[in-house]
Each structure stands twice: as structure tokens, then as C-alpha cells.
Amino acid sequence: MTVKLLGSATLAALLAAGAAVAQDDAIIVQSTTSTANSGLYDHLLPMFEEETGIDVNVVAVGTGQAIQNARNCDGDVLLVHAKPSEEQFVADGMGVERFDLMYNDFLLVGPESDPAGVAGMEDAQAALEQIAGSGAPFASRGDDSGTHKKEMSLWSDTGVDPTAASGEWYRETGSGMGATLNAGVGMGAYVMTDRATWISFENKGDFDILVEGDEDLFNQYGVILVNPEQCPSVNAAAGQTFIDWLLSDEGQEAIGAYEVDGQQLFFPNAGA
């Protein structure tokens, strides 16, 4: 009898708890931590939701995981920053079409003491080579995210293989941008981060921007509708509405208007 009672209680609990399953006019956006952690979605989504009545649910993970989740059809829209991977995603038929959405840039941040002496350098590659040469600690995402992919491509241009020093001066956190910044600040290690995360990051300690402005540090975000032919569960209409809105003048203006501490975080460049 006790068992039966527990059983029905269980069922009731599950039903009650399951009531909040996503409804028809909702989409899931697989996105990156940099956009979510910077607060961009908190700025954009209320406008969009009020206008269209579509609920946007953002899952913020590394770009690599976001793309993998989208490949599993666990999202309607992909909004990430790793152009080659995004183009591959579309070429594989998983995405309908890729659009440039906005950009910002990557930075090299580090402790005030700057043991490798890279402050003020404008050549990112040279700065990385100098850090490697000095043996000063460098904290890497190491998680196949967009930022990590970018960092690896910069290293490969320098000819230095930092992973050979993994665990020594080169420290792969395998974590998100914020966690990696926390780790970097904690151990006084240089970190490559996107500007949006850095500006909104609140645990900077004595860290500051040391290297910025190199063309190589350009950070382009793209947006893709997951292909409903591959993934029948995709809410194509609502997903397309969201993408259209982001790319519209209104959406682009909204992106450009987002500021933290008086600084613009993302620069819209759809159709540029």
C-alpha cells in the first residue's frame, strides 16, 4: 500500500513538474558563454519577446559544445563565434545558412606585474611568442570553444606548440571564459579573452588589458538556423523570425546599443 501511495505521488510530482515543457512559440538558442555572460541576451530578448511573443531559451556553452548540441538537433538556432566550424556545419547540411551578425575583438589580459613584458604590444603573435619564451604562466580555455580555437590558430601561426608545455607554464583549464579568467587571476596567468566577457567580468583583480587592436584578434559572431530537414523538431518559423530580427536594422541597433560601464560590447555587422 505504501508502495502504491508513493507511486501515485511520484506520478503527480512528475506531471506537475513537467508542466513547464517548452511551448510552440519558444525556441532554443545554442550559444556561447561570451554572449550570455556579458548580459547581451538580457538586453535583447525582452525586446524581441515583447514584439513577437516568441520565448527565446538560451543554452550557453562553449562554441564546440554548442555546435555539437545543434548537430544533435537540440536547438533551433546556433549563435557562435568560430567561422570555419560554422561554415562546416552549414556545408554538412546541418545549418540552413550562416549570417554574419556582429563582432568584437579578443584581448590579451594579464597581471599588472606583466612578467613577460607584453604590455602595449600590438602584435598578438609576437606577444604570445614572448610569453612562451619567458615561461610566464598562460591560462587557456582548452575546451574547443570559439575562443580556444582562435587562440590555437594564433599559436599555430607563431610556430610555438604550447601544449608541449601543458601543465607547466601553459595551463588548460578546460572551462568557460569566466572560469578561465577566475583561474588566470588566481594564478597570475595571461589569458586571451573576448572583450565582452572581459568588460562585464567582475573579478578582475589587478589584471588589465595588455594587448589589443591586432587584426588577428578580430572576433566574428555568426547566426545559423538549424536545418529542419535534418532536424524535424526545429521550430523553423520562430527560429527564422529571431534571426531575421537580429539581422534587421532594429536588431542591429539594439546590439550596438548594449553597453556595460559605458563601453560598447558588440559591433553589429550584418550584411556588411
Binding site: L6, N37, R71, N72, G178, S200, F201, E202
Partner: protein, 235 residues
């Protein structure tokens, strides 16, 4: 130390202001973890009882497995549930990924072995005391289990609390299958993880304090219930 003081003050002001987002997150945390605890008890108690009173070939192996599963890493549970609930997975058609239900499923898997293993121990100890008397009374297996569960109910409450504590405190599983979606699947632990990654350590810590106070509240409630009931009918 200064950070902790700051966090305490922030936690207090968060609670006192009755912040809507905070209440929503706290509510979802409780809903998800209490549901998972309830389901885990519905599954784990009978399993624990079966292991406690039955002797069958392979029982020892079953005990080792159940005991070992108490140490299931949440991330692994999250991953396994994700792979099943993903649209590309065998249960994808249910559309449960990134819903509270998915989080309940993951936490249930995480804590059912805890409930089963601990209740097995509690019930087996009690059965050791009752077994001969029950055999003399020719009780059926159902009657035996019913009597054991009823007489051990206060110890089993503690077992349930252990399960709830593990569920409400874990982040690895719910962040994968829930996605930490604002207003949909964000719970206390994923919110803490988020604020930590934003570098807002005082807010993260303040949320952590709120979570601990909630856990404390639930435990105090159950303990109070237990003590009242004990005074009335149990020794």
C-alpha cells in the same frame, strides 16, 4: 573574509527584497529536487527493502553495484541523460531536454542509489531484529516490508534527506540536461555557477548562502516533524 561579509550582506538584502528572479530560482530548485527525491524514494525504497530481506544469487554483487553507484559523478549522469533525451537520442521524441522534467530525471538517477543503499542498510538492521518474530507470524513479504518501512520511517526520512541534499547541491547534471536557461531551467546551483563564471563572486557566494539556508530549513522542518512524531509514538 571581506568577500564573505559582503556576500552575507548581499544574501540578506536579496532575501529581504523578495527578488522575483531569486524566488523563481529557489522555487524551481525546490520543485526539481523535491520531485527527484520523491521519485527516488518511490524507486529506491522498494529496491532497498528487496535487497534487505531477500537472499538470492548475485545479491552481494548487487549490493556492491548499488553502493558504488552512490558515488555516481553528476556530470556523467547528466551526460547519459543528455544522450538519451537529445533529439538525436532514443528518447528525443519526448522533447524533454532543457526542461525541469529532464533535471528531475537526472537527479533521480543520481540519488536513487543513495536512497536504495542507505535504506537497505536501515531496513536490514531492523529486519535482523524482527525477522524471527515475523517468520513466526507467517507474514508475507509485502507485510514484512510494509512493517519494516513503517517502523523505520524516521530513519528513512533521514535517508530521503541525504538524497535531497545531494540533489539540491549538485550542478553537473542539471546544467547539462537543463541548460541553465533563464526563467525555465535555472536553479540555485546553475545560477551560482553562472555568477562565478561572470566573476561576480559576492553574488555567487550570496546565492550559495541562500541555498545553504534553504537546505538548513528543509532539514530543520523534517527534524521538527520527526521529533514531534517521536515524542508521540516511538521509542
Amino acid at each position: 573574509m571581506q568577500a564573505i561579509g559582503q556576500a552575507l550582506a548581499l544574501a540578506l538584502s536579496l532575501v529581504l527584497s523578495g527578488d522575483g528572479d531569486l524566488l523563481e530560482i529557489v522555487g524551481l530548485s525546490l520543485r526539481v529536487s523535491l520531485s527527484a527525491t520523491l521519485v527516488a524514494c518511490a524507486l529506491g525504497l522498494p529496491l532497498g527493502a528487496l535487497l534487505a530481506i531477500s537472499r538470492f544469487p548475485g545479491r552481494n554483487a548487487a549490493l556492491i553495484v548499488v553502493n558504488a553507484l552512490m558515488g555516481l559523478p553528476p556530470v556523467v549522469v547528466g551526460l547519459i541523460v543528455y544522450l538519451h533525451l537529445s533529439r538525436a537520442g532514443p528518447l528525443g521524441f519526448l522533447g524533454l531536454l532543457y526542461t525541469p522534467t529532464a533535471m528531475i530525471i537526472a537527479q533521480t538517477i543520481l540519488i536513487t542509489p543513495i536512497v536504495a543503499a542507505l535504506s537497505r542498510q536501515v531496513l536490514e538492521d531492523l529486519h535482523g531484529e524482527y525477522a524471527e518474530q515475523f517468520r513466526s507470524l507467517c507474514l508475507s513479504r509485502t507485510q514484512t516490508v510494509g512493517a519494516l518501512v513503517w517502523d523505520a520511517r524516521y530513519s528513512l526520512l533521514t535517508v530521503g534527506l541525504a538524497g535531497f541534499g545531494r540533489a539540491v547541491a549538485e550542478v553537473g547534471a542539471v546544467i547539462i540536461v537543463g541548460g541553465n536557461i533563464d526563467h525555465l531551467t535555472r536553479v540555485m546551483t546553475t545560477a551560482i555557477a553562472l555568477e562565478t563564471s561572470k566573476g561576480d563572486l559576492p553574488l555567487a557566494l550570496a546565492l550559495g548562502i541562500v541555498l545553504m539556508v534553504i537546505a538548513l530549513g528543509v532539514n530543520a522542518l523534517v527534524q521538527g516533524l520527526r521529533m514531534t512524531a517521536t515524542r508521540q509514538a516511538y521509542a
